[in-house]
């Protein structure tokens, strides 16, 4: 609260200290929504610029971290809304690593068997590609609830949406994500069958 007050009064070093303390958290949070590092940096920068102009509204009731996380959520949501959505993801859009990941991970058990750092990065990229086909609100709830395992109430606090809106949004988003992955798996299986038949 002292830092916030000092920064509000124009103390640049106090604001720099706020950034130093909370930027790792802001970066970690923003990284869940964007695949490119440049977008994560853009989001984090926008978060702190907004935070500086809105310091007057921070009354110190909740934690500074919570306040910044809410700003980060809204900033990321706005950036997701302004970024271009892919119409649909097909197998031809995937890299060879991503196609390979799908081939070897036809089930969650198989995925657990083949788990490695490199494959996790491939999976993260693939998840980003699938998410890009969904609307911004769907991306947000899926990332928070299914990815981060946040509760509905936590998402309500972060977004300011009603509980029923969060639940309905999550329900629809899960369906769209599942259908997109199911299509990719089905196409992958068909491709395998064709290869086996021709050989």
């Amino acid at each position: 609260m002292e830092l916030a007050r000092a920064a509000r009064e124009g103390d640049e070093s106090a604001f720099e200290e706020i950034m130093r303390r909370y930027s790792p958290r802001v970066f970690r949070f923003a990284a869940k929504f964007f695949r490119q590092r440049s977008l994560v940096e853009e989001a984090a920068q926008e978060v702190f610029l907004k935070a500086f102009t809105e310091l007057g509204s921070y009354e110190g009731r909740g934690s500074m971290e919570g306040w910044l996380t809410r700003i980060t959520t809204n900033t990321c949501l706005n950036l997701l809304r302004s970024s271009k959505r892919r119409p649909e993801l097909t197998l031809s859009d995937l890299s060879s690593d991503e196609t390979n990941w799908l081939d070897t991970n036809q089930s969650a058990e198989a995925a657990a068997r083949h788990k490695s750092v490199e494959r996790s990065l491939v999976a993260a990229d693939l998840a980003g590609r699938v998410l890009q086909t969904l609307p911004a609100n769907d991306q947000l709830v899926l990332t928070l609830i299914d990815g981060e395992e946040a509760s509905v109430k936590e998402v309500v606090d972060l977004t300011g949406w009603s509980e029923s809106k969060v639940k309905v949004q999550a329900f629809r988003a899960r369906r769209k994500m599942r259908q997109a992955v199911e299509k990719l798996l089905a196409k992958g299986r068909k491709g395998h069958e064709r290869k086996e038949f021709s050989s």
């Binding site: 720099e16 610029l49 980003g128 299914d146 899960r174 199911e182």
Partner: protein
């Protein structure tokens, strides 16, 4: 109906929120239903992908704070100059109307009266003293009695 039931179970909550009972129901069902099996596998993979996505972490780059502060200063400077120009624009209308009013007043004060004076050929000196003095100048050659009559309106005739 049973297929829809399983799928709605998958979509109503995240995997972390599914109870043991739900999972058992799902596993039993997908053993018989191919459609639900592929939906279940896709749902599991979706969850896995999202978790991998959520586990990605970025650290702030070395000069991130400096860059933000520089951007902040730039924006503040832009806001200040914008604010000044906005005030200037708002005050500009007032200032120009005031200047116009002053110019009009100056015209009415200095130019118009001079024109009127020159056109009417009004002699200088309109005060009573000057009128009287003017008249006295004319009456310099007059007698004392005429002078008194002119200035004080005293007629010496009746006293006689």
């Amino acid at each position: 109906m049973r297929d829809e039931h399983i799928i709605s179970l998958l979509e109503n909550a995240s995997f972390a929120e599914l109870s043991e009972n739900d999972l058992v129901t799902i596993r039993i069902h997908v053993g018989d239903c191919e459609g639900c099996l592929s939906a279940f596998e896709a749902a599991q993979l979706s969850r896995l992908l999202l978790q991998e996505r959520a586990s990605v972490e970025f650290e702030p780059p070395p000069f991130f704070h400096t860059r933000v502060l520089a951007t902040l200063r730039e924006r503040q400077a832009a806001n200040d100059s914008w604010g000044f120009s906005r005030v200037w624009r708002a005050a500009g209308a007032l200032a120009s109307s005031m200047a116009a009013a002053v110019a009009l007043l100056a015209v009415f004060t200095f130019v118009v009266p001079e024109n009127q004076i020159s056109s009417q050929q009004v002699p200088n000196g309109y005060s009573a003293e000057e009128v009287i003095l003017g008249q006295t100048a004319q009456l310099e050659d007059a007698s004392d009695g005429q002078l008194l009559t002119t200035i004080y309106g005293i007629d010496e005739e009746p006293s006689r």
